[in-house]
Amino acid sequence: MDLSVINPILLLAALMSAATPILLAATGELVVERAGVLNLGVEGMMIVGAIAGFIVAVNTGSPALGFIGAAAGGAVLSLLFVFLTQVALANQVASGLGLTLFGLGLSALMGQSYVGVKPPRMADLDLGPLSDIPVLGRILFSHDAMVYIGLLIVLGVWAGLKFTRAGLVLRAVGENHDAAHALGYKVKRIRTLAILFGGACAGMGGAYISLIRVPQWTEGMTAGVGWIALALVVFASWKPWRVLLGAYLFGGITQLQLNLQGAGVAIPVEYLAMSPYIVTIIVLVILSADKSRAPGSLGRIFHASH
């Protein structure tokens, strides 16, 4: 065992990158759930985003266009969920599970001729002198643009929910859709927009895996990240900053346990592999012991009976 092979600076730097797919997907799902919709199709939207972004990036040579394509791919798939749950008033749990299964199959079909292809690489953002700060520069300011866009989305979601009228209306719809309808708010329209936003975020999260983390295309490559993002939203008590904390915690411990495996620590690999899940859940469960609770209309079907 040789712990000295672990470089703490590189470890911390890798944490931000490792956490980004979960962070994007969970932030999108947070908005969806605050609007009162439970979309269990995150995994499906991520994998479709991963292949859609991969195809666009390979064919255009631009990773940036790839991420836009990934957002569009995730959003288009989420339209299917919109149709099922907001138009046909189908059960949200069943529809979400169906969306994940459908997304896994669809992505495999789309990606058939892309196995083994290398995507264009996304350059790290040049932050000039900031990147040259010792230690901090390497940890915080030497990443690709998507890491920062992810953080901006969290900031935007937090501020939007807390300070804007649109955010207030969205929370009201999620809290009590009958009352929001009685006040004259368009429950279905607001929920549709929230679901599309969630789909776009999940799609970008998926593309971060296929374009930057791995970078290649293999079937089922999101490997359950969407489910972790879903759990993260609940354990984070539907609060954006706690989602960020949970995503970083999860990403950090994932990196740490990989490093520990590399260093040959005398703990069975299975324990190391399960450690990110256990630690993240414990910390967020402790945090969620306050009064916060789920949005009142979460998962309930809205039917305007008036």
Binding site: A182, G296, H306
Partner: protein, 504 residues
């Protein structure tokens, strides 16, 4: 003078029922206009059309002489119409200020809005803290949020749907002072209520609906409550007859019952001691949310209570579950009909089976006797005049009043020794309510002890032998119902909850 609001020939039909048939109505500026009618008479549909939630099939509406056809509630609010809902349209997890902002077209920034809320609430004697969570407020305070939400829009017409059902008598008096002041300032009020004495003291004019049609107009001050009730129902009502039956042994006793709240927005029960005798009807009043639901669940066995706190005929039943208590003779009927007292998507036969299995012998060795359950359901339907095509229909398909008759009848026909009911006539029209009250009195006359938890004080005074009030989870001392004054009852219910009379 042009009328503020004028409806002529308004008609709205739903599949199978005409909710409003050629209704005409005129409201003058500053007038307090009552809308009367039984359940299903079409009052809610009519005000929903005025508030833009429903579009009429035919007929004209005009506001201040100009045509008025609101596409949605926002348009109605912009035109100067505000509405205080019967079932509060509030958001528990949001603050008072956020709730109010949601009901406004152009809400100012939060800090400014909080100041406005404080100003208006003090002017009208309705104190409210803008940053509190609505889920933590009492029913009376929640109503203030709705009223202030409307007042901030400076409406020309304020629609109030059953506003006093959740208030103590003192709160009602203060609400009326606020409404009279608004009316004096020129705001018209369209007031819906079942409480005829309130309408007589508050309203300038009344329109009476029956089965969707206007059946009469009257000046409430010059009309007796009995005459108005007759116009609503279409026939004279018989008040329940109470026999002063002999009072027997103590059947149910609570000794120092305390219970922590089941949810974050619940109310704990604090040290409740009371006893009920055979043949006695104990009325328990109080504003909603003061422990009524918790008391019922402690008595039904849904909530686990400490040993030696609930005694049935001297035996400790505190640790027994609902079915064991049913077998012992303690039956309950909770307030929420759909989802608590009855399973909405199950048939009436299945619902009869759910609580009746043990006492009616509908089950043997774990096997269900559906034939007996069906005849039990048929008996309930026949004895309590439940209007439904048959026992195979889902509970959800019944109207509120009919389902209420079914769930109360189901418990009464099991010959309980102690029956506890919560809001037995809530949302039930006058004739059905009278039938339910009579059935409860008959049950007591045959030697059962009956506890009626209700927010309708008139009902409690009509049928109770003794009266107590729940306030903040505590039960007041029990007093004989005969001779209690409204002021005394109000004090027992906890007074006016910090309200004060309008200052201007």
């Amino acid at each position: 003078m042009t009328a503020l609001l004028d409806l002529s020939g308004v008609t709205k039909a739903y599949p199978g029922v005409v909710a409003n048939d050629n209704v005409s109505l005129t409201i003058q500026p500053g007038e307090v206009h009552a809308l009367l009618g039984e359940n299903g008479a079409g009052k809610s549909t009519l005000v929903k059309m005025i508030y833009g939630l429903v579009k009429p099939d035919a007929g004209q509406m005009s506001l201040n002489g100009a045509g008025y056809a609101p596409a949605d509630p926002r348009a109605a609010r912009a035109a100067g119409i505000g509405m205080v809902f019967q079932h509060f349209s509030l958001f528990d997890a949001l603050t008072v200020a956020e709730n109010i902002a949601l009901g406004m077209e152009n809400a100012p920034p939060m800090r400014q809005l909080a100041a406005q809320i404080k100003a208006v609430s003090e002017t009208y004697g309705l104190p409210l803290a803008p940053h509190r969570l609505v889920g933590d407020l009492s029913a009376g305070e929640r109503q203030r949020v709705e009223i202030i939400r409307c007042l901030l829009q400076e409406p020309k017409l304020l629609i109030m749907d059953e506003p006093t059902s959740v208030l103590t008598p003192q709160e009602v008096e203060i609400l009326f002072k606020t409404l009279r002041k608004l009316s004096a300032e020129g705001t018209a009020i369209l007031y819906i209520s079942h409480k005829l004495e309130e309408i007589r003291s508050l309203c300038d004019a009344a329109t009476i609906l029956r089965l969707g049609k206007v059946v009469g107009h009257c000046i409430p001050r010059d009309t007796s409550a009995a005459e108005m009730a007759e116009m609503m129902v279409g026939s004279a009502l018989k008040p329940p007859q109470k026999a002063a039956g002999p009072v027997g042994d103590v059947l149910l006793e609570l000794r120092g019952l305390s219970l922590p709240p089941a949810s974050a927005f619940g109310m704990p029960l604090r040290d409740i001691s009371v006893s009920v005798r055979a043949g006695e009807v104990l009325g328990i009043g109080g504003v909603a949310g003061n422990g009524q639901d918790e008391l019922l669940s402690a008595l039904s066995g849904e909530a686990q209570v400490p040993a030696a706190t609930v005694f049935l005929k001297g035996a400790d039943v505190g640790r027994l579950g609902p079915n064991a208590r049913r077998v012992a003779g303690l039956l309950t009927a909770p307030e929420e009909r759909l989802g608590h007292a009855a399973a909405p998507d199950m048939s009436l036969t299945e619902n009869a089976m759910l609580t009746g299995a043990a006492r009616q012998g509908l089950e043997r060795n774990g096997l269900l006797n559906w034939g007996a359950a069906r005849s039990f359901a048929n008996q309930i339907i026949a004895d309590f005049d439940v209007r439904t095509p048959g026992p195979g229909n889902a509970a959800r398909s019944l109207s509120g009043g009919n389902l209420q008759k079914f769930v109360i009848g189901r418990e009464i026909l099991q010959r309980p020794e102690v029956l506890v009911v919560n809001q037995p006539t809530w949302g039930v029209d006058a004739s059905a309510a009278a039938a339910i009250r009579q059935a409860l009195l008959d049950l007591a006359e045959h030697g059962a002890a009956v506890i009626v938890i209700s927010q309708d004080l008139d009902e409690l005074m009509e049928i109770s032998d003794n009266f107590a009030a729940l306030n903040e989870g505590r039960l007041s001392a029990v007093r004989p119902a005969a001779g209690l004054t409204v002021a005394e009852i109000g004090q027992m219910m906890g007074g006016a909850h910090g309200m004060e009379v309008a200052h201007v």
